[in-house]
């Protein structure tokens, strides 16, 4: 088991190196004189905004409407993680285990239905 995680760790290192190499290839090509020449221009390095001069800052606070989805996501993701080991052993389990899982889901679903009722999932 540890063996396979070790292999995965080594593969992660190889994958990082390969991905970094992809980004570095054009730089290497430019060093040997094959890539595109740098042709600096002030307009080229401005931020694209449909041809207009960019107005104001980008990183401002604004209501992006996803906060409540994130809260619901946390509840359901934890639920899903709990359901994985349950599902694995369900093959030799009975009605009681199924009922316990249904109870767990229903507890989370009460919050979900409350959120639905409150109109969290509606864009207003």
């Amino acid at each position: 088991m540890l063996n396979s995680f070790g292999l995965l760790g080594m593969f992660l290192i190889i994958a990082i190196l390969v991905t970094a190499a992809f980004v570095l290839i054009p730089i290497a090509l430019r060093l040997v004189g094959l890539g595109a020449r740098r042709n600096p221009n002030t307009d080229k390095y401005t931020i694209y905004e449909c041809g207009m001069v960019s107005v104001g800052k980008t990183h401002i606070q604004f209501n992006f409407r996803y906060y409540f989805f994130a809260v619901l996501f946390v509840a359901f993701d934890v639920l899903a993680i709990f359901l994985f080991p349950w599902a694995l052993w369900m093959g030799n389990a009975g009605v009681f285990e199924l009922g316990a899982a249904v109870l767990l889901v229903v507890i989370v679903l009460i919050g979900y239905l409350y959120a639905w009722k409150k109109g969290v999932m509606q864009w207003k």
Partner: protein
């Protein structure tokens, strides 16, 4: 398979690392060709047909073009995040393939993980971090909105995706990819069609394709999170998008269509695997061409009001069947499940329509 390669630790690792890298690069190029060529007839035009016979060299021509392009970084952008974004987007794509069984009983190519499906579900959603880094680091308003959207969409569609995988684990009684592929005599696409449809819709949203590609909605956000990218960094996003589609097709083929299992799978296992992956991908292309792009509020309510209840009902149905038949669902249950899936989808779409949502503008 040569036993010397399998027995030697380092030879095993080196050979299969090269196999995975080659498979991803060649597979992505083939998929780009299949999709662009397939779009032609769908949209009553020809598609790429100049580079090589039937335009088959088009992906290579594109690769050479992006390698030779100038790399433009806006001077207001965060240089570190702007560079790291494409790297982190592409990394999970490679990592998913480490545990996918291509052929026979050896399991995943790099490691035969006994928690393979959890690993896939965890790794496949990591790419969103890179997308958000790219969108935030570009300092562009469109790309920031696109990055916010992709985070919202990704966390919404993560839940139905994982819950449909839980239902598969329930029916097969295994967490490893190989155990799922061989766990039940029937492919899961027949045993739980509802679960497959939920997985398909959720994974299409997860890989930002088809009707769910709101993070690069060209008509509203110019190009989404990769407006400020050019050259090889842009190509990395392109590569990651198709690589993720390839990975999700491979996962769907393994989990729902029994992967390498088929006639003469001692020799032809890899062939069945690639054939099934290609079938799923062609289905993805077909769906992308057929459906118009959704609105973002429709997309969110589709995830939370349609897919999530459906996924929970699917889980409950499979759980009841597993308890009723003692862990081994008989093959004739598939007729009942098909009927149930049809009734549930039609009934719930009468009860709730994503198209019915309204946006009220504040003046």
């Amino acid at each position: 398979m040569n036993s010397w390669i399998l027995d030697n630790f380092w030879a095993h690792f080196a050979v299969f690392t090269i196999v995975i890298l080659a498979f991803v690069i060649i597979g992505v190029m083939a998929f780009i060709y299949v999709e662009r060529r397939g779009f032609g007839p769908f949209q009553l035009r020809r598609g790429p047909n100049r580079a090589g016979p039937f335009g088959i060299l088009q992906p290579i021509a594109d690769a050479i073009k992006v390698l030779l392009k100038e790399d433009v970084v806006p001077d207001r952008a965060d240089k570190v995040l702007h560079t790291l974004g494409p790297v982190i987007v592409f990394l999970p794509v490679l990592l998913i393939f480490a545990v996918i069984p291509f052929h026979g009983q050896i399991g995943g190519l790099i490691a035969n993980l006994n928690v393979g499906i959890v690993y896939v579900a965890a790794i496949s959603s990591l790419g969103v971090v890179g997308v958000f880094m790219a969108g935030w680091g570009s300092e562009n308003k469109y790309s920031l909105i696109a990055a916010m959207r992709v985070v919202g969409a990704m966390i919404s569609y993560e839940i139905p995706l994982v819950l449909s995988l839980v239902a598969v684990v329930l029916a097969t009684g295994s967490l490893s990819m190989n155990g799922i592929a061989t766990g039940h005599p029937l492919p899961m696409i027949l045993l739980m069609p509802l679960g497959f449809l939920i997985f398909l819709a959720a994974s299409m949203a997860e890989i930002n394709r088809g009707p769910f590609d709101l993070l690069e909605a060209d008509s509203e956000l110019v190009a989404g999170f990769h407006i400020e990218y050019s050259g090889m960094k842009f190509a990395m996003f392109y590569l990651a998008e198709y690589g993720h589609a390839l990975a999700m097709s491979a996962v769907a083929a393994t989990v729902f269509m029994k992967g390498w299992v088929g006639p003469w799978d001692a020799y032809l296992g890899w062939f069945w695997f690639i054939l099934k992956t290609l079938m799923i991908f062609v289905l993805l292309v077909w769906l992308r061409v057929t459906f118009p792009r959704m609105r973002i509020d429709q997309m969110m309510s589709f995830a939370w009001k349609f897919l999530l209840p459906m996924a929970l009902i699917n889980l409950l149905v499979v759980g009841i069947q597993v308890v009723a038949f003692g862990g081994d669902i008989p093959w004739w249950m598939m007729f009942i499940n098909f009927g149930l899936a049809g009734v549930l989808i039609l009934g719930w779409s009468k009860f709730f329509r994503p198209g019915g949502a309204r946006v009220e503008y504040q003046v």
